[in-house]
């Protein structure tokens, strides 16, 4: 069972009952309790924002929980320069722009073969690929490091593409093949009768019909790529090649005593992902639940 279909739940049976007033009242109480929990939940981020826009002297003088007496943007410009964010942003963006489309394409191709083509050893291939979900990255770092060193690809974001693709493939294939499976076979058969080959079916029918699943997978993959830490930590050395997570770790060390600058730096690192998440949350939520809630 997949839970992709839009479901209405707000209309519950209780609303049909005459006792409407207490129900609404209870809804209000639950809402209030949830709002308090939500404020508490988001307070680390709220504090981060408040701290990032106040001068350091104000922070030290009045304490972290006080309302700023003064506002400033200076922390951001300081953090931006010292944290080398222009470089790490560029590196992370290039990496995501190459890795994500490539990963989604090859995963979609494999997913198509598993879902719609008659393929030998299909179950074996599926099992082997899905097993990748359970493998921790650190079991592969020594051989990957040796591989990249002998290929001269250490300290380059391009050396990260292979391992990132490999660790993204299991999840992407899992979601995409289950989506492809729901596409009716009849339309594919009809296209074949008209003489379309597998490639044409894939590019002109399967992909266009699967845009929602492809977008979801691409977004989740972009988040994972943007956030990946361990491979980047062991493969990248020089500041010029670092990605956001590794750059942020360095920055954290340098700004240990500058609380407001540190807050600004952390914000700089997370703001794009927060904005993307807020704008695209519909896709993320749908994809997470559709991809895993089966069976």
């Amino acid at each position: 069972m997949t839970l992709t279909a839009p479901v209405r739940v707000d209309v519950s049976i209780e609303s049909a009952e005459p006792a409407k007033a207490p129900r609404t009242k209870r809804g209000l109480v639950i809402t209030l309790v949830l709002i308090v929990i939500a404020l508490f939940w988001i307070s680390p981020l709220a504090l981060l924002v408040i701290t990032a826009v106040r001068p350091l002297s104000d922070f030290i003088g009045n304490g972290p929980l006080s309302w700023p007496a003064d506002f400033t943007w200076k922390n951001f410009s300081d953090a931006w320069g010292i944290g080398n964010f222009a470089t790490t942003y560029k590196n992370s963006a290039i990496l995501a722009l190459i890795k994500v489309p490539l990963g989604v394409l090859v995963s979609a191709m494999l997913g198509f073969a598993l879902a719609k083509l008659r393929m030998k050893f299909r179950r074996t291939v599926m099992f082997t690929v899905f097993l990748g979900l359970t493998i921790p990255i650190y079991i592969t770092i020594v051989p990957v490091f040796i591989m990249m060193r002998s290929a001269g690809a250490t300290d380059s974001i391009f050396g990260l593409i292979g391992p990132y693709l490999a660790f993204g493939i299991p999840f992407e294939v899992l979601v995409l093949q289950s989506f492809f499976r729901q596409l009716p076979d009849e339309i594919i058969e009809a296209a074949r009768v008209d003489g379309a080959g597998d490639w044409r079916v894939f590019f002109t029918m399967i992909l266009p019909l699967s845009v929602p699943a492809l977008v979801t997978v691409a977004i989740l993959d972009a988040v994972a790529t943007w956030n990946e830490f361990l491979f980047a930590l062991i493969l990248l050395n020089s500041d010029a090649h670092k990605t956001i997570p590794v750059g942020l770790l360095n920055f954290q060390g340098q700004f240990a005593n500058n609380n407001t600058g540190l807050a600004a730096g952390i914000l700089i690192a997370v703001v794009p992902i927060l904005i993307a998440y807020t704008l695209l949350q519909r896709w993320i939520v749908g994809g997470l639940t559709a991809g895993s809630l089966k069976g």
Binding site: M109, M119, T134, P136, I139, I141, L165, G195, Q252, V285
Partner: protein, 299 residues
Amino acid sequence: MATTVALSKPKRGGRWSPWLFALPALIVYVGFLVYPAVSSLWFSLTNWDGLSATYKFVGLDNYFKLPSDPVVVTAVKNNLIWTVVTIAVPTVIGLLLAIALNGKVHGKPILRLIFYTPAVLPLVSIASIWGWLYNPQYGAINSFLRLLGLDGLAQPWLGQDSTALWAVMVPAIWLRTGFPMLLYLAALQGIPNELYEAATVDGATKWQQFWHVTMPSLRPAHYIVLALSLIDSFKVFDMIYAMTYGGPGTSTQVMGTWMYFNVFQYYQAGYGTAIAVVITLVAIAVGIPYVRSQTREAS
């Protein structure tokens, strides 16, 4: 649509056609995941230091050394605590939030947005944020305790053995509650109202409805949450590395970080890899039922 190229293929495409689709992903997957993972098995049987050109085959020596390494003992214990706590607490909180959100609540989308937000942040940034909140002098947590007059409770949370691991698990819980919440929310919305109607007609109380209608209907969701959380919890590395670096001392080492330290700090690549092999085998063993269910369901 008429095509100019007459493809004299069998109806289902050529016998090789599926493999042309499958191969690009499979080559990358095998080359960068399967092959490295398997060759780690080999390295774990050697005394390689990670730098020298040569090394010796030492059989299972590295594995025999594990139980007498006090840090491995600590790491195993920490991995167990981590697994239990970061699965149980987020699952329970996630379920409670989902049930609350599934009722007649105003502003549902924004509440859901807030509770899931930590899950999209880079682990390193979560570590930075909480490291900053835990700062003994200027951290918000100690300031808050002092504000409440609980000065005695203010302490160096990440700097002492007794609290460090627990202090790292709090942000892990913060980050991992969103996923079960979303999953349970979706599952709750899939429970047909007729079930509750029937239960109401039979005179079941809210509490009875929860245990006899809601919980059984959530079984697939429980299973997925548990399986994915288990798989995830064995991968713990980033948070520990970025928040405590395994310290103070070695009190917050887990298998993943202790592996890293052995390989990249102490130049014991063979031994470090053996640590990784052990935890990976456990992770695979635990994950196999889930992987099989996904494979079977699809066929």
